[in-house]
Each structure stands twice: as C-alpha cells, then as structure tokens.
C-alpha cells in the first residue's frame, strides 16, 4: 500500500545531466508537456473550423473564452483586455493541470500540487504586474504603498505593513492552489487506503469498507469542483492584481 504522500514524489524518467546540473525529464515535466498538448489539441481542434454556428467542441472553447473575457472585463476594466491572452492561458493551463490529476487509473502527475510550479506562476505574475505598475504610473506607483488617510507618526509602520502585504501576494496565490491540490489528493489516497485495508481485514470489516468507498465518490465530486474553482480563483486574483497595477485601486 503506497503512502498517501507518495503520489507527489518526483521520479526521473530520462536522466540528463548538463554541466553538473540535473535536468532530467521527470514525471512532473512529462505531465506538464501532456497538459500543454491536451490544451493545444482542445483549443486548436475546437477552432479548426471556426463555424458561424458552432458545434459542440467549438462551443465549449467559446464558452471558456467568454467566461474569462467577462471576468476580466468585470474585475479589471476595459483597459485590461490587452492582457486577455495571458489570463486566458493561465486559467486554461491551471484548469487542465488540475483536472488531469483527477483522471483515475492513468496516474497522471498533478503538477499544480507542487509549490515549485505554482510559485513560479505566481512569482512571474507578481513581477510582471509590478513592472506594469511602474510603466503605467512611473515612480508614482510607489504611492500605492502609502495609505491616504494615515497620521504622519504611524506612516513608516503602515508603509512597511503595506509592503509586506504586497509581498505576500505571490505567496497567497501559490500556497492556496498548491495546498488545495495536495489536501484533496492526499485525502483521496487516505480513504482509498481505508477501503483496501478494511476489505483485506475480511468478515464484518469488509462490509465496512463500503463507507470510505462512498466517501471517495463524494470526495471526487468535491475535488472536481475544487479543481475548477481554484483555477478560477487564481485567474480572478491575477485580474485583481492587474487592476491594482492599472488603476491603483
């Protein structure tokens, strides 16, 4: 019986070493590539005909497009529409990666269950949004860290708090996605373990294994919701940060 956290281990599949650095192709890298391929097939395949009256496939692609376009317009305003490709790619990628981990039997590695992946995403959003703020407002973007109606004596402390609060953005963004994925998958594995060990105990205990099994079914539904929801939350927060950089509140 595999431990509940074993599913998150990274194994090297094709060992490569360049100049002392280990850049082996791992199960995580393979999963990332598969997510990319699935995403590209879904998007390009759906838009291949670009019919005026869309079929099922094209419809689902268009639904994703409209969903994100509306969300971006609502949270960050019209101006932010130039960043649509970025937000859309982000959302679709996280959604694909999250849902890939929910496919049973294939044992696809959930890349979003690693803080390295989610933090890389969040960190580049953070850097990009900060640069955008400085391009848009010049040095005036620093006013973002100065609360307007504060007494002068408290100002230095409040500015430090504002800066720490700003720095916490990439952490909260990445930790939320990663923690949700890890918690969900661990819970599924733990209850899976209960089913196996109860069934193996035999007799009256074997009947008891129905309970955790039923729980797994319910949990899988919940995890599907969480997979979609966390991709959405990630995209919404990116939009809010974009909005802050563009309009400074």
């Amino acid at each position: 019986m595999a431990g509940p956290l074993e599913q998150f281990e990274i194994h090297s599949k094709v060992p490569i070493e360049v100049a002392g650095y280990d850049i082996s192709i791992t199960n995580s890298a393979i999963s990332l590539a598969i997510a990319l391929v699935i995403l590209m097939v879904f998007m390009l395949g759906g838009m291949r005909k670009a019919a005026l009256v869309p079929g099922r496939w094209q419809s689902s692609v268009e639904m994703c497009y409209e969903f994100i376009a509306k969300m971006l317009g609502d949270t960050a305003g019209h101006e932010a529409h130039q960043f649509f490709p970025f937000v859309f790619t982000l959302f679709m990628f996280i959604l694909t990666a999250n849902l890939m981990g929910m496919v049973p039997w294939l044992h696809l590695f959930t890349v979003t269950s690693h803080i390295a992946v989610t933090f890389a995403l969040a960190f580049f959003i953070f850097i990009g949004v900060t640069i955008l703020g400085f391009i848009k407002h010049g040095i005036g973007f620093l006013k973002f860290f100065v609360p307007g109606d504060a007494p002068l004596a408290l100002l230095p402390l409040l500015v430090i708090i504002e800066i720490v609060s700003y720095l916490s953005r990439p952490i909260s963004l990445s930790v939320r996605l990663f923690a949700n994925m890890v918690a969900g998958h661990t819970m599924l594995q733990v209850f899976g373990g209960f089913v196996v060990s109860l069934a193996a105990a035999g007799g009256i205990f074997a009947l008891g294994s129905v309970l955790p099994f039923a729980f797994i079914v319910a949990l899988t539904g919940l995890e599907l919701l969480v997979a979609c929801l966390q991709a959405y939350v990630f995209a919404v927060l990116t939009c809010i940060y974009l909005n802050d950089a563009l309009h400074m509140h």
């Binding site: 949270t75 708090i161 720490v164």
Partner: protein, 111 residues
C-alpha cells in the same frame, strides 16, 4: 394634414411602447449580481481568506529569517516582522472581504 398628424401621434405612441418594452427587456437580461468581484462559492471565499492571512505571516517569517541571517540580529527582526506580517495578513483579509462585499451579491441584499 390632420390625418398625417394623427398618424404621427399614433406612431409616437407606438414608438414609446416599443421603447418601454425594449428597456424592460434590457433590464431583465442584466445580471442580477452587480458586476465586479464575485467568487463562485463560499468555499472559494474561505480558501482565499485563509491563504491571505497565512501568506502575510509567512512573508514576515521568511523576510525576518533572511534579514537576521544577513544582518546578524537573530532573532529580533524575525520577531518584529512576524508581528508586522500578521498585521499585513489581517489587512489582506480585510481588503479581500471588502472586495467580496462590494462585488458580491451581499451588496444588494444588504441594503
């Protein structure tokens, strides 16, 4: 002439009627929730708030740890920055909650 005038009045009434029906239809198709920030479920809101709080403290810890290592002031900066981090976390949560109230459906129901 009188005929013409009458028909133009009729036309005006007809147009007004059309206008009223059009605006009613537009009103009906408007989303119920005010545009803006609206997270799908309570679960999403909960995870957002928790992560904001924890991230603030985490940044305080990390920043304090590295500054202490760098400046050799162990453990004072870390203690200070944990407190500041907690304050920043609470500030984050307050902001997030404000956004939720402004953008979510609470706004209309609460009035």
């Amino acid at each position: 002439m009188t005929d013409n005038k009458k028909s133009s009045e009729e036309m005006k009434a007809e147009l007004d009627d059309l206008n009223a029906r059009l605006s009613a239809a537009r009103e009906a198709s408007k989303p119920k929730v005010a545009s803006g920030y609206n997270e799908a479920t309570t679960y999403g809101r909960a995870t957002r708030l928790v992560a904001e709080l924890i991230a603030g403290i985490l940044v305080g810890v990390l920043l304090g740890w590295y500054l202490d290592q760098w400046l050799g002031t162990k453990p004072w900066l870390m203690i200070l920055l944990i407190i500041i981090g907690a304050a920043a976390g609470i500030l984050n949560v307050m902001r997030a909650a404000k956004q939720m109230v402004q953008g979510g459906s609470y706004n209309e129901e609460g009035k």
